[in-house]
């Protein structure tokens, strides 16, 4: 047990700092809902190009695909150091952190050659096209159809909760290739051009007043056969790889970051009352413990060990921290919390999404209890039943 950087880690951190110092002359713009996404994207693309030219675009990827093959510990250091210069979040992370690793694991050589380098360079902004109006927590019940059309596919259906789809060049999409199979079996993983004929993107306005998500409609969109990743029935397996990488990237967030921001505000106004201070100290302890838990999980992963049940509770825990941080931030503002805009208004309005996106609180709790504690699964009425025979929302009358 040692919570300092190991000599290797310290050397790596020094290397990262030496690289970042001259390349990071200014604070990056931070996404706050109302921000102009096109401006933000242009800035992030320029930064990604800089990283690419210096060989740091995708350090977590294996060397043969232009990465540096970082260990879990090094990846964390990389994320921390990017965080120090305000460069941790990127609109490009769908490609860098989710699609890229999925292609590396499951893509054909041709697909890797065609997509990995432009993705790393930031030339392709990818969006995720998984969720549907009828398939949220139960993602495998998705109904968007992919029908064979010569040597390609024809896609029809609707996707939703797609981040930045209105700015995206391409999307990775799950669609049903065979509705006569049970729901997990007949799903394919497709790469689609967002500007292809028949694709329509409708931006959503969220309760924050900003636009992050989109609805995406597909009306008989032609997708060439070479854009199917894996086999036509392997989409679910691939999606699990993608979602695992999404969770890994969520797991690298520091729970202390929103808490430090809150404390900076409180200190700037000369402190708060003892009752609020108690709640803040408790939040600090929870966030510190959560960062330690993610370090524990990373240690296990780096050593090729099972990360244990702790990995299954992290997303709910960080959501709780962010909810509480937003609430306490609003408390700290006092009367100024009444204003439309201020230091914590966006966080407060964004907070309810934390326990919905990336697996709802309830689904993740069930998963933690089943996989982490070995409690029995709920009886599953969809088991072994063809997708087309399943009851769906609106069909129960």
């Amino acid at each position: 047990v040692d919570f300092d950087d190991t000599p290797d880690e310290a050397a790596f951190r020094a290397e990262v700092r030496a690289f970042l110092a001259p390349h990071a002359p200014r604070e990056a713009p931070r996404y706050r809902g109302g921000h102009d996404l096109a401006t933000l994207l242009a800035d992030q693309r320029a930064w990604q190009r800089t990283l690419f030219d210096a060989g740091w675009a995708v350090p977590a990827w294996p060397r043969e695909y232009g990465g540096r093959g970082l260990t879990a510990g090094q990846r964390q250091i990389w994320a921390e150091e990017l965080g120090r210069i305000g460069r941790r979040d990127s609109m490009l992370s769908g490609g860098l952190g989710m699609l890229g690793p999925t292609l590396i694991e499951h893509g054909s050589e041709a697909q890797k050659r065609r997509f990995l380098a432009p993705t790393a360079r930031g030339d392709i902004l990818w969006c995720q096209l998984f969720s549907e109006p009828g398939a949220g927590s139960d993602l495998a019940s998705l109904a968007t159809r992919a029908v064979r059309d010569g040597d390609g596919w024809c896609i029809t259906g609707q996707k939703v909760w797609s981040s930045f789809a209105n700015h995206a060049d391409m999307g990775f999409l799950l669609a049903r290739t065979d509705p006569s199979l049970p729901k997990h079996a007949g799903i394919g993983f497709f790469l689609v051009e967002m500007r292809a004929p028949g694709v329509e993107v409708r931006p959503l306005v969220e309760m924050t007043g900003g636009n992050h998500f989109n609805e995406v409609f597909f009306a008989e969109v032609r997708v060439p056969g070479e854009n199917l990743v894996g086999g036509p029935g392997e989409g679910w397996t691939l999606a699990r790889t993608t979602l695992m990488h999404e969770r890994l990237s969520i797991g690298s967030f520091s729970a202390l970051a929103p808490v430090e921001r809150l404390f900076a505000q409180v200190r700037a106004q000369g402190g708060t009352d003892p009752v609020t201070a108690d709640a803040m100290a408790r939040l600090f302890a929870q966030a510190r413990a959560l960062d330690l838990l993610s370090a524990r999980v990373r240690t296990a992963l780096a050593r090729g060990q099972h990360p244990g049940p702790g990995a299954l509770v992290m997303k709910n825990a960080i959501s709780d921290v962010m909810l509480h941080a937003a609430d306490l931030g609003m408390r700290a503002l006092g009367a100024d919390a009444l204003a439309a805009d201020g230091a914590f208004q966006h966080d407060f309005l964004f907070a309810p999404s934390m326990h919905i996106g990336g697996g709802t609180e309830e689904v993740l709790k069930s998963l933690a209890a089943e996989q982490g504690l070995g409690l029995p699964r709920e009886p599953d009425v969809t088991r072994g039943v063809a997708f087309e025979k399943l009851p769906r929302s609106g069909s129960a009358r």
């Binding site: 190991t6 413990a289 524990r296 244990g308 709910n316």
Partner: protein, 373 residues
Amino acid sequence: VNFAWSDEQQEFRASVRRFVSERWPVAEVRRLAAGERGFEPEVWRQLAGDLGLAGLVVPEAHGGQGFSLLELSIALDELGRELAGGPFFATACLAARALANVATPAEQAELLPGLAAGGTIATLAALDAPGLPRPDGVACVARDGRLHGAKRFVIDGRNANLLLVAAREAGSRGADGVGLYALEAAAPSVRIEPAPGLDLTRKLAHVHLDGAPARRLGAGGSAWPGLSRTLAEATIVLASEQVGAASRCLERAVAHARERFQFGRPIGSFQAVKHRAADALTQLELARSAAWWAAWVASRPGEDVGEASAIAHGTACEAFERAAYECIHLHGGMGFTWEHDAHLYYRRARADRVLFGEPAAHRARLAESLGLV
């Protein structure tokens, strides 16, 4: 960052677990709780002497094993699972660390070997009553080498033959004039009164000092910094004991939820039950992470332990209380009976919150150091 235990530490954990499950399981703890001592001398001798646990953190030069608070926290984690150990916490943690933090090398050479061999059961009565460590919590007075006052709820106060007691010079205030004194439990003018506790498995006593002769330890100067560090260290390793106990509560609750059928299904297959267990698991995993880290912080001499002890204590208290409650609740009516072990853990969980100060009191201190008030 390396969060992994070494092979040696894992072997050590396995050996303590083996011993506890064979010789000192909770059923035995329950049987012994009815007696005044709460432990079996022969089993204590094996744990303290043969296994060498009493001298775990005592330097090798003084007959101990020379390990750090990391190993101490491993031992307490394993003992905590079964609420076992009797005077282990008082002797191997409180007294051994108080001597290390306050006594002179010569005094350590004189007193530590007896502790390490397991022959001496020792305890520390720092404050006059359990609570947040503050120098004005020491009101007992030392005058002309004699102690006057009382110490309430001293851990294993009745079992100890060596008492380490904090007292202040008459008329002194704050940290100034606070000294650590050693005296035999059998010394004249010492009256030790058993204090039957909420927690049936950790034995407490009130110690009355009516002019008891005692010798001051240390090289002069206030003993408070050393005592304060000792109490913070104790809070930190207690967190590991709490984590061990909480783990066991959750394991037992889950095992029951898998076997108990209602409505034709194991009750653990219902979401409402799963979510209770998942909430307890979340708090437990946070507390476990904090407890390991805090033990590492405390294992480094000179490192400030205030923040680590507040974080470890707060998360461990919440996790243990939650798990102990769920252990009762998920066992249903059976969990509410005297016969079931669940209440032993529930009692321990609540009592642990009080021993070194309520988590809220630690948080108030933390909030101050964070500049929030």
